[in-house]
């Protein structure tokens, strides 16, 4: 049976997610034994438009990107959004809160029309996306699992409960108990509460958990010592493409 053909593409992003795939180290060679990589610009010369699964990293930030993405969508049977920028818009959406016309004129001056950019957006704003590998960066173990499920012809499962569950499993002290803020309460799990476990808090990079209770979250976060601006800043890190960050 022919090996499935896979391809990697990227738009506006830091390529950190593709790096995590390279960071699979020895395991990458195992995975590659089961697929035929027809396009992976970062690490291989050679390209073909004949692929079954396309992994796409990065957000869409200008009209010409839409054209390229639609072409990829046409060629691929399965399109996977790789990482937060592709899946939920990610950190690129921070610029969306600035007045586009003001900074375009300021930045490009009279040449503004030659450098078309618009509000950063996830892939799903432009094309149908079949699956996503969440996170900023992605978790390489989760990537390997999702890829395996795709190759087995299944719809990959990603966690539908919040980070709090994994935080409790890890035995972390809740950030709210420490007087801090944390978006684990509304963020999709699957990262094993990595950031809280590393001494920080959750920034919401994996996107809103299905059924996230934003109203309750705002009540929890609204406490003496925190400002509305601080809450807004935290929500805007990665959730700029949702209503949460307004």
């Amino acid at each position: 049976m022919a090996k499935p053909k896979i391809a990697f593409f990227d738009f506006a992003g830091c390529e950190g997610d593709q790096l995590q795939i390279a960071n699979l180290e020895e395991r990458l060679l195992d995975i590659l034994g089961h697929v035929e990589v027809v396009s992976f610009r970062e690490v291989a010369t050679g390209h073909s438009d004949d692929y079954d699964v396309a992994f796409v990293e990065g957000s869409i930030t200008r009209p010409e990107d839409e054209i390229r993405l639609k072409e990829i969508r046409k060629n691929a049977k399965v399109l996977v959004a790789l990482g937060a920028c592709a899946a939920i818009g990610g950190i690129n959406c921070l610029k969306n809160f600035l007045a586009e016309n003001v900074y375009r004129e300021e930045v490009y001056g009279s040449s503004a029309r030659w450098y078309p950019t618009y509000a950063a957006r996830p892939l799903k704003s432009v094309v149908k996306v079949d699956a996503e590998v969440p996170g900023c960066p992605i978790d390489k173990v989760e990537f390997a699992r999702i890829t395996k499920e795709l190759l087995l012809g299944r719809t990959p499962w990603i966690a539908d409960f919040p980070v709090c569950v994994e935080c409790k499993q890890a035995g972390n002290v809740c950030r709210y108990e420490m007087g801090k803020m944390c978006l684990g309460i509304i963020t999709r799990a699957g990262c094993k509460a990595a950031c809280v476990s590393q001494g920080a808090h959750c920034w919401g990079c994996r996107g809103l958990v299905p059924g996230a209770n934003l109203d309750a979250a705002r009540i929890v976060m609204d406490r003496p010592g925190t400002s509305r601006k601080a809450i807004q800043d935290l929500l805007r890190f990665f959730l700029g493409d949702t209503g949460a960050a307004l």
Binding site: E25, Y103, E105, C136, P137, G199
Partner: protein, 480 residues
């Protein structure tokens, strides 16, 4: 008609530990081919980010077009941080790059701490130095083994080499695995680490973890020895091309400067980091969404070769020995040798890291809270570190609430774009006799040698000082 430079195709048999490679060495003298040549590399492979090489050579050998284009989408990081609190900045700018996220965080933290007068402890400096070493090792090994080596072995990627040179590939992969574990132990993870904050760290490696790190690093030295021998055996496959340029990087009287120092140059006086704009003078070109720079020459180079040319005398002993074995001499003007300088830096990084880990173990790790500013008031600060691809600057101006008023980042690859173009301008006439395929390969290899981080360099675009008269939310500090 330009003559193809002649190169030897022999490798010294004693040095190469592996059997003769089945690939065609790149340096085989090619037959002179006539007729017009067209090179259109759209989205160069095996580099980070999107860049195009466009070259036209006429039938009589004249070069009518020679362009290095950067069509990468700009992301506006310098705008994203405006109005944000000082504790968030390094987490935002970390996302400029997945490979050198640690470097961006460090430059960012240095700038913030400079602006807000936050003094960190010796332990913090030591941990941060280690963080930078971990990143340098990881990034260089990726570039050397995954991005450059395929060209020297005549294949499209490292994947075929996993079958033909399995032992060598596994050694490179093992060394990379150590570098990622290194970053995980010190700062949380390689890409967008979580443990660093203005004033210090929020979590620390344990004594056991540091001891195991020391062991892993010691075990990496033989793998690097192997890599050095391997490359010494194929180094003459690198094209011979000399073009002297200005070399810029951090310098220090006491060490091979990566973490701090003054801005040094092969042609200019050294300057304190705060005067970075006097050297990096960025400007825009129509074929690039990233800015270019120049100082005393038409362009300058940053990165491993620039650092080597400025600071080779401060390398650790094994690294110096590796340089000799690889034939890398201070003052080298062949950009294809950037990769060789990176390999020398890998050895240096591991050697120095072992000593720094031992120092931490001797002192004992203190779980100390991050240093806090005594008060928040407006200020300006500059941070500069050497990331794998060259010197990186972050400048921030904060307001009285500890929020960013304006920001400026000068990325190493911005500083190399101009040099890449000038190299191509000089190189293409020399190669005009080659076939299209060979010409495309040589030019692609030249750009790859720089290890460009193109999306990093396109973080933002700047105005040419135009006064729009409108009230602006975002102000860019550069005046031309």
């Amino acid at each position: 008609m330009a003559k193809t430079p002649a190169k030897s195709t022999t490798k010294s048999p004693a040095k190469a530990k592996k059997a003769a490679s089945p690939a065609t060495p790149v340096s085989t003298p090619a037959e002179s081919v006539g007729g017009p040549k067209k090179v259109r590399v759209h989205y160069l492979t095996r580099v980070e980010g999107h860049g195009n090489i466009v070259v036209d050579v006429e039938a009589d050998g004249t070069v009518s077009t020679c362009r290095w284009e950067v069509p990468e989408a700009p992301r506006f990081f310098e705008a994203m941080v405006v109005g944000r609190d000082y504790t968030d900045i390094h987490h935002i700018v970390s996302r400029i790059c997945g490979i050198c996220a640690i470097g961006h965080q460090l430059a960012s933290l240095q700038a913030t701490e400079d602006a807000l007068n936050i003094n960190v402890s010796e332990q913090t400096h030591l941990l941060r130095r280690l963080a930078l070493h971990g990143e340098n090792l990881q990034s260089h090994l990726l570039h050397i083994a995954y991005l450059v080596l395929p060209d020297l072995m005549g294949v499209d990627s490292i994947l075929p080499l996993a079958a033909t040179h399995k032992d060598a590939v596994l050694k490179f992969i093992a060394a990379r695995r150590v570098s990622n574990e290194f970053s995980r132990l010190i700062c949380g993870r390689t890409t967008h680490p979580q443990r660093m904050t203005p004033g210090g760290f929020t979590m620390f490696p344990t004594t056991e973890e540091l001891t195991s790190l020391r062991t892993m690093l010691l075990e990496t030295l033989p793998n690097l020895d192997f890599a050095v021998d391997f490359f010494a055996g194929i180094v003459d496959r690198l094209p011979q091309f000399e073009r002297e340029t200005e070399y810029v990087g951090l310098v220090s009287p006491a060490e091979y400067a990566m973490y701090w120092g003054e801005i040094g140059s092969s042609r200019d006086e050294r300057r304190p980091v705060r005067q970075y704009r006097n050297i990096s003078r960025e400007y825009m070109v129509p074929t690039s969404t990233a800015k270019w720079t120049k100082n005393l020459g038409e362009s300058y180079m940053v990165g491993a070769l620039a650092r080597f040319n400025l600071n080779a005398q401060h390398l650790m002993p094994k690294a110096k020995a590796a340089a000799i074995k690889l034939g890398l001499i201070k003052g080298c003007t062949n950009p294809y040798y950037i990769t060789i300088a990176q390999l020398v830096e890998c050895v240096h990084t591991v050697e120095e890291s072992i000593l720094q880990v031992e120092e931490l173990l001797t002192r004992g790790i203190r779980e100390e809270a991050p240093a806090r500013p005594s008060s928040i008031c407006a200020g300006r600060g500059v941070g500069a570190v050497e990331v794998p691809r060259g010197i990186l600057f972050h400048f921030y101006e904060y307001d009285d609430n500890g929020r960013i008023f304006q920001a400026d980042c000068v990325i190493p690859t911005n500083q190399n774009h101009g040099n890449i173009q000038k190299d191509l301008d000089a190189l293409v006439p020399q190669l005009s006799g080659l076939s299209e395929k060979e010409l495309e390969l040589r030019l692609s290899m030249l750009v790859r040698a720089y290890d460009p981080c193109i999306s990093c360099s396109t973080h933002c675009i700047d105005a040419r000082g135009l006064d729009t008269g409108a009230r602006s939310l975002v102000r860019f500090n550069r005046k031309k």
